[in-house]
Symmetry: D3
Subunit: 162 residues, 6 copies
């Protein structure tokens, strides 16, 4: 048996979601520390799918609402050793390098404020993430004026120097 | 609805392709800088699929042909927040660590000079990469003389010391 | 043609498996060095699927049994540029950062002591990993007493300070 | 001729200073981007001592006062290829990994909110940093109750889990 | 006043020492976790010189003798924000990347099994490390037969492939 | 006895020098591989000061002239566990991240095309690098027109986007 299923993840306003793969129950504490180190006022919740023994969704965070949300969505995903993070007061760009460097983390599937569809493979044995649909499909290729607008935007918000 | 589709990517002669996942429109400039820092005479083009707002393929590069190719193939892939790079005068081994360290990059699916088949999941909502077929399937397990030939080759080209 | 298949990987007792994606035949030597640098008494075997030319499974290791196992399972996976590592006397947490930093490595799909199901896409052209099922699906969300037990366990084994 | 001199650096209230070594005039833009990526509301100034050609102190920042301060203190240090950063709304722990990963950065001498004495070697040819005195010398070894207070403090501010 | 002093560090048999610079009292716990993650049976002690407030030497470890030694030697060094680690059952090569990646760490001065002389600058204000003398000065340049012996040694112990 | 001495390092035309600290005789092979991975046509020589046993300067490279130069200058420096690299067809910015990630490397003192003065502490026991003078001391702070010229230069050579 091999079935593909979709779990939809809506991201709360002013939040972002990060979805990845790790191993070992310590992940949930190490992700907590990676995030708390990243940005002074960051708020977040983490859910991690333990995949042996009691097979519980392990969760941590410094915001009860985001922690509960992360635990619930991780349980809906239910793929062994996957993790999900909801964060606010910070962007993925601020934290993603610290997450990729957590020693238990294998990979990150997506980091986004878009609604996310998680494609999941399910067998008699268990479930695994095979991919994500992160936002809408492309509608065209940027032209000169789009390039100029993009560059101006990044320089206006101070992310790039002019 | 969940359909799987394949986009084929032919790699131009003397080029390599890198396919990955990131987030945020700044990716296209940060990838540009990561690559330009890597190798003095590198030539490359980058395409990145913006996945909200205008949903345009954003593109940069220092070689017009590779830039156009990257934009067109990214548009064919059309998976939100994915990126594609074509490069020459350099190999993935020269640039991959710099790309993995770009703060917006989530993961890299493949880096290769082989033709690539990109497996894509499509729903009503959008599209996402679920995997890649990078070259041919294995034909056997190396024997003693193959091991010797492999080691000799790597030492002859100077990549390993004898 | 696009077919999905499953390769099952049983992990020998006291061992862990790491499954990932790389490029270039030098991967097998670079992974060897990354692992040998990690832990003084580590034992391991590595298999890597060359995906052009002779398309052989390349293998290295410092334990003949694990090397043979890695070569055989890599051949069963047979997905271009993928690699598989079996290790003992060490845990993924000890080596994963060194593996992620190997210049040829694109991504790591899983690192686990669980049995693993590898979901593979196959076309006329070749094969590619699309995901892994790593252990069992989640059975619930941890409650207060589970959190306490988790924290106590990590502190008892000395991985976290109290 | 070899003389040792001291430059004193007072750190403004609620600020931290980071002192390091890099190379190439692009450092000042790359440090700007590393910092702006780190924390959403970070404020900072950077000074970098160009060491050939016009030998000017190059400076960037998103806070005019800190930028001016960094330029002036870099000029007082005047050691070829050294840089100095003053930052607020963020701590060194939030940004230090990003700074160490900037491709031009060689090393970081100190990151602190303490007053700093920079020990400088001067010859007929130029000046170089040989070390820093970062705060006061040790007054004792912590005892059991100090250890408990330290752990409690880190857990109370949420940096570590209990 | 600027005086240079020397602190001598003898390394216990079968041990190595690592000497570096960091910031913030959390360093001592983060170094503990970095080391405990590195090698399954590692034994170590850490001393860290707090440089404001009570200015105590903070210490952690999983071996009481090495912990005590690290605390005492850190107190002898007494340079603000410096740290010292004594480790056994592991080598610096196994742990140094994890230590360099600790978010508070600025730099590492030395990692060695040699006796070490730490050159320290002292003023009325405090003390700072300016350099280390790590073992003996060079006695010559290796000739062909020395190169061969070196390569053979590294391949015999399995650190490099032949 | 504590004496400070200066070793002058002239950098050949079109070359750069990198000076750092590591440990263990394997450094010289690992630096070789880090550099050969970095840039396709890089040419370099490496010298490393072994600091126990025979205390020889160990050397590698893929350019005999630069290898000989590196060996000779390392012998002149003669500080235990230090290394020196001369490179051409590549810039420090292309290779410095790979060097910092070599598992034996502690720190990098300088990376430059400037003449370098290396400040060395010498005792009865051995020698250690305490700092470098990298080029000339600062002559002023850049004004508006200097900032514009700097930005224009970096964008004209393609290192930054306009």
């Amino acid at each position: 048996m091999l079935e593909f299923k979709i779990v939809k993840i809506e991201v709360p306003e002013d939040c972002n979601v990060i979805l990845g793969m790790a191993h070992f129950i310590k992940t949930v504490e190490d992700l907590y520390e990676a995030l708390i180190n990243a940005v002074p006022n960051i708020k977040f919740g983490i859910g991690f799918c333990e995949s042996s023994g009691p097979c519980l969704v392990r969760h941590e965070g410094n915001d009860e609402e985001l922690r509960l949300l992360a635990a619930r969505k991780a349980y809906e995903v239910a793929c062994g050793h996957s993790f999900i993070i909801f964060l606010k007061n910070a962007y993925p760009i601020n934290v993603l390098d610290k997450i990729k460097n957590v020693p238990e983390v294998c990979t990150v599937y997506a980091a986004t404020a878009n609604p996310l569809e998680v494609i999941i493979a399910e067998t008699e044995y268990g479930r695994g993430i095979v991919g994500v649909i992160d936002g809408l499909k492309s509608k065209g290729i940027e032209a000169e004026e789009d390039i100029k607008a993009r560059k101006d935007f990044l320089r206006k918000i101070g992310y790039k120097l002019g």
